[in-house]
Amino acid sequence: MQFLWAFIVGGLICVVGQLLMDGVKLTPAHTMSTLVVAGAVADALGWYDPLVEFAGAGASIPITSFGNSLVHGALTELEKVGWIGVITGIFDLTAAGISAAIIFSFLAALVVRPKG
């Protein structure tokens, strides 16, 4: 059942992105930045976690969940160690994604040429 909701929610978030690109005529970079901030704000309001519970990968795969994880990290650390946690905790949950992207991209660049 969660598969169905993953499909629907994930698809809908992508539709929002498409509307930003085609309707508001934002560039992909602007669109993604907007969605990340939207995800962060949604998490700040406490809306994103329930969405992840409900839709699973439909909420955790789109780039909005990146914003969600950044806020999570900041707030969790804030709770643990106080104010400084807002800075030290930001990358806690997103480290995996960023590290993976850097490492795999670097390794790829060693052996692969762009095809045009």
Partner: protein, 338 residues
């Protein structure tokens, strides 16, 4: 030579294109004009390690073939006038290094083909040089890398985007020898009617094309029917209709002749849908002119052609800073000797 009107040169001493060459990449070789190109590469890398080296090789090869076609050696060449789309026009400068001739680098974006040809004709007509080579090049991947996105990046192109031609076109101009005559050149002014979308080159460049065409006919007193064919460089499917409308508003009877665009001629938009609106780039007008159009002239299909190469003079920074896109168009009239 003499100045006619405000911005048109009339060449009295009959400078000719005595040699020429057009070298292209695989996509252009798969298009409708493939038989008109002197060499078609089957790989986008042009056999080189980087896109930039590939672009340079295209120009180097086109210059060599043009010299062979003109029957002159590198040492006999007076000047090489070249330009391209890369930062600091490195493709032209590095090719000039190999060529060894005195070099004038120009930047007219996609109008470079006719800008360089007009200047070459000026030099030859005034007696300041016996043999002058004008050439330009563009490569799809170097342009994407510099102006837009990395080539493997997944961004969706809008329906008015254009596809940069991978190709180089060169011509050797001289008063001695045989070939079609360059009779007139109209130098364009920079036109900017506020278009900001860097993907909508056609709409940005259309005013420049219209302005130059109007100026040409106003300066010379000719009518469009004087030419068998008038082509613009790379307005493609969006820019050409706009230019037609602008010219109609100005009262220029373009229906007297065939009015087409190199960007629409070089690709088959149905079989090659990835080109979206059509071809663009310095190499677009250059390869179509030095390959296809001059071939048709040689066969006797065309007697008088006006090539209006159009260029968008933006940079990635100017776009990011919110500036609109200033454009320019240069026109050169090429006629077969009677």
């Amino acid at each position: 030579m003499k100045l006619v009107g405000r911005q048109t040169w009339q060449f009295e001493n009959r400078p000719r294109i005595i040699g020429r060459a057009a070298v292209v990449g695989p996509e252009e070789g798969a298009g409708p004009l493939s038989a008109d190109f002197d060499y078609v590469y089957d790989n986008l890398e042009i056999g080189e390690k980087t896109w930039e080296k590939g672009e340079r090789k295209l120009l180097e090869q086109a210059t060599q073939l043009a010299l062979i076609n003109a029957n002159i050696t590198k040492e006999e060449l007076q000047f090489f006038i070249g330009g391209d789309l890369l930062n600091q026009i490195i493709s032209s400068s590095f090719s000039a290094r190999k060529l060894g001739a005195p070099y004038l680098g120009v930047f007219g974006a996609c109008s470079t083909s006719m800008e360089s040809l007009a200047l070459a004709s000026l030099i030859v007509d005034s007696g300041a040089g016996e043999y002058v080579l004008a050439g330009t090049v563009s490569h799809n991947c170097t342009v994407e890398k510099q102006f837009r996105y990395p080539t493997e990046y997944g961004s969706q192109k809008p329906p008015y985007a254009q596809y940069t031609v991978t190709g180089s076109g060169c011509g050797v101009v001289s008063r001695s020898g045989d070939g079609p005559v360059i009779t007139r050149a109209t130098i364009g002014r920079v036109m900017d009617l506020g278009i900001k979308d860097p993907f909508n080159m056609g709409a940005a460049m259309a005013p420049a094309a219209a302005d130059t065409i109007v100026s040409h006919f106003r300066d010379t007193g000719l009518e469009p029917g004087y030419y068998d064919l008038i082509v613009t460089g790379d307005l493609a499917s969006v820019g050409l209709p706009i230019t037609k409308e602008l010219l109609q508003k100005e009262g220029i009877p373009m229906e007297q002749t065939t009015f087409n665009d190199c960007g629409l001629m070089i690709y088959d938009r149905e079989k090659q849908p990835f080109v979206v609106a059509g071809g663009s780039g310095c190499g677009c007008s250059a390869t179509v002119t030095y390959g296809h159009i001059l071939n048709r002239m040689q066969k006797g299909d065309l007697k008088r052609v006006l090539v209006v190469a159009t260029g968008a003079l933006l940079s990635p920074i100017s776009y990011q800073q919110g500036e609109s896109i200033p454009c320019i168009a240069h026109a050169v009239a090429i006629e077969k000797e009677a």
